[in-house]
């Protein structure tokens, strides 16, 4: 399997990465290189092997349902570009 330039542009658009035509060409070559590695791995017989969701074969540890964080809004908002009335301000977005 190999990607098209069109697909690379679409993935970049979805990830909000602004890439030039030259960068898209480079990315296409690199991504296809990765795909060829995957293709090689596909050759291994994995019938009957459950896919892993994580590189570590251990289970998630859980925390108790307890509030452990206090209000640190002032500290967080001190480094925010713009705030008002306790809100973070961003360029207007309406869908």
């Amino acid at each position: 399997m190999s990607l098209t330039l069109e697909q690379v542009r679409r993935v970049a658009q979805l990830a909000r990465i602004d890439i030039s035509d030259a960068e898209a060409d480079t990315a296409l070559g690199e991504l296809n290189g990765i795909f060829s590695l995957i293709e090689a791995m596909q050759a291994a017989d994995t019938a009957g092997v459950a896919p892993m969701a994580h590189a570590l074969d251990i289970a998630q540890r859980l925390r108790d349902d307890r509030v452990s964080e206090s209000d640190q809004r002032a500290a967080f908002q001190a480094v925010a570009p713009e705030t008002a009335d306790g809100l973070y301000l961003v360029p207007k977005v309406i869908e």
């Binding site: 349902d65 961003v90 207007k92």
Partner: protein, 488 residues
């Protein structure tokens, strides 16, 4: 449109996705509080803000809620489930992805019984999965800017997905109501729809009966049962008209505008739904040990369906009464406690009192059954006095109001105290009633004459006079009988 019916040759197909906010103290992946109504961003910690270097740690309480739900709907609680990233960009989603579950959800299958008219229908569930909520964007008040409040970001949600088994807006609403009652019953969600704790999306399509499924449109964010009904009815009409006019339905996400009563398409880009899910490398698979599931099963309250059946079998209630009395855990608990105090023989009058007198009062004052000033034990003891003929039902209503107003004290014997203090004990002594009736007949000769002339109305007037003479303390049937024998 009537439920389960084909509208002018079309069949309606609806599936519902529900977001239930889980009733935990802290967020699903952080230790920030989830309380509603806090000042903006005071409950948004470094994890919720997605500051560099933070990692999510899963809340045991949220998982427990998912297990409870799975057991309550007879679903499979997955031994192993996986968290995935759902990628999209929006300012109220600081990480650029929402942590959700995709290929391996925590709850698989299950079903919910709904009551539509007189019949019951089983609605199959596809799945339920854990995920985090996003923050809130405020678009007004800021010139050319949006304000972001991340208090809600990271709040635990259970997304519950039904199969497309619903066939009308009435069935959709019955499903949403049943689900709403269930999540509150098992204590995993407060169900507050105004605060957004329980919100539904409806996937609606129409087809020719027996034909292939039509293209669906998704109505987002229905936060009231009334809007759900209106939105689906409008959407179904619109789809049928569009198809009958030779048009085609385009898959779309629509919003319901309560002011116009219409659904309208959200402007959204073509790639809006390409979420590029993949397993979240920050989280290991969630493994739920079977003994945890069994411990949780043992702690579940008796479920509404089981309780309803027991009310019918043990107390001889009708299906209708049993359904009404299991509408919520509070009303069911109140009713059972009242029956316990009154005796099983009073189960039916208890049902009437709880559904009519108590419900009216509780609704009027906007309080919960559990907070009613007349406790279940007090009501039960009051009705026991009706059952043993100490007082009439009419006097019982007066005593109920008195207890509600704080008379008789807070003890279970409040009714007995009021009966004793106000001398409300019913007069059952025939001699005493006869003496009062004789007096009434002597003082109302005109009415007696009218009755003898054949006017039945005059008899009722005489009963009224006699009851008045006994200050309502005589048994009306007994008065009736004695009066008739004296006039006869």
């Amino acid at each position: 449109m009537k439920h389960g019916e084909v509208s002018s040759g079309w069949e309606v197909v609806i599936g519902i996705e529900t977001h239930a906010q889980l009733a935990t103290q802290s967020k699903i992946f952080s230790g920030a509080a989830t309380a509603f109504g806090a000042a903006p961003n005071v409950q948004a910690c470094a994890v919720d803000l997605a500051l560099p270097g933070v990692l999510p740690v899963l809340n045991r309480g949220a998982v427990e809620c998912a297990i409870r739900f799975g057991l309550a709907v007879g679903a499979e609680v997955a031994e192993r489930s996986v968290f995935a990233r759902k990628n999209y960009f929006y300012p109220d989603l600081p990480k650029g992805y929402q942590i959700s579950q995709f290929e391996a959800p925590v709850v698989i299958g299950g079903q919910l019984a709904i009551q539509v008219g007189d019949s019951e229908k089983i609605i199959r569930l596809t799945r339920a999965h854990l995920e985090e909520d996003a923050g809130k964007s405020l678009h007004e008040d800021f010139q050319g800017q949006s304000g972001i409040d991340l208090n809600r970001a990271g709040t635990p949600l259970l997304e519950i997905v039904s199969e497309p088994d619903l066939r009308s807006s009435a069935e959709a609403v019955a499903y949403a109501r049943a689900l709403h009652a269930l999540v509150r019953w098992i204590g995993i969600c407060d169900g507050n729809m105004q605060e957004g704790s329980f919100r539904c999306d409806a996937n609606v399509s129409v087809r020719r009966p027996g034909g292939p499924l039509g293209t669906r449109r998704e109505i987002k964010n229905l936060n009231s049962f009334r809007f759900m009904q209106q939105a689906i009815d409008y959407e179904v009409r619109w789809q049928i008209e569009t198809l009958e006019d030779g048009g085609r339905i385009q898959q779309a996400t629509v919003l319901f505008d309560p002011d116009s009563g219409e659904t309208r398409s959200m402007r959204s880009k073509e790639d809006a739904h390409d979420y590029r899910y993949f397993p979240d490398p920050d989280l290991l698979p969630l493994v739920i040990a079977r003994d945890w599931v069994e411990r949780t099963r043992a702690q579940l309250p008796e479920l509404p369906v089981a309780k309803r059946a027991r009310f019918v079998a043990e107390f001889g209630l009708s299906d209708y009464d049993a359904t009404a009395l299991t509408a919520s855990l509070e009303i069911a608990n109140y009713y059972e406690a009242a029956v316990q105090a009154a005796g099983v023989a009073s189960a039916k009058p208890c049902a009437n009192w709880v559904m009519v007198d108590l419900a009216a009062r509780v609704n009027r004052e906007g309080i919960d059954f559990g907070d009613a000033p007349v406790s279940a034990a007090q009501l039960g003891r009051l009705l026991a006095r009706v059952a043993d003929n100490t007082i009439s039902n009419n006097i019982a209503k007066k005593i109920f109001d008195a207890i509600w107003a704080g008379e008789g004290g807070t003890g279970e014997d409040a009714a007995d105290r009021i009966i004793a203090a106000q001398g409300l004990k019913q007069i059952t002594d025939t001699g005493a009633i006869e003496a009062l009736i004789d007096e009434v007949l002597a003082n109302n000769a005109a009415m007696v004459a009218e009755f003898r002339a054949g006017k039945e109305k005059a008899f009722n007037a005489l009963v009224g006079q006699a009851m008045k003479a006994t200050k309502g303390k005589a048994n009306p049937q007994q008065v009736n009988q004695l009066l008739r024998s004296k006039l006869g």
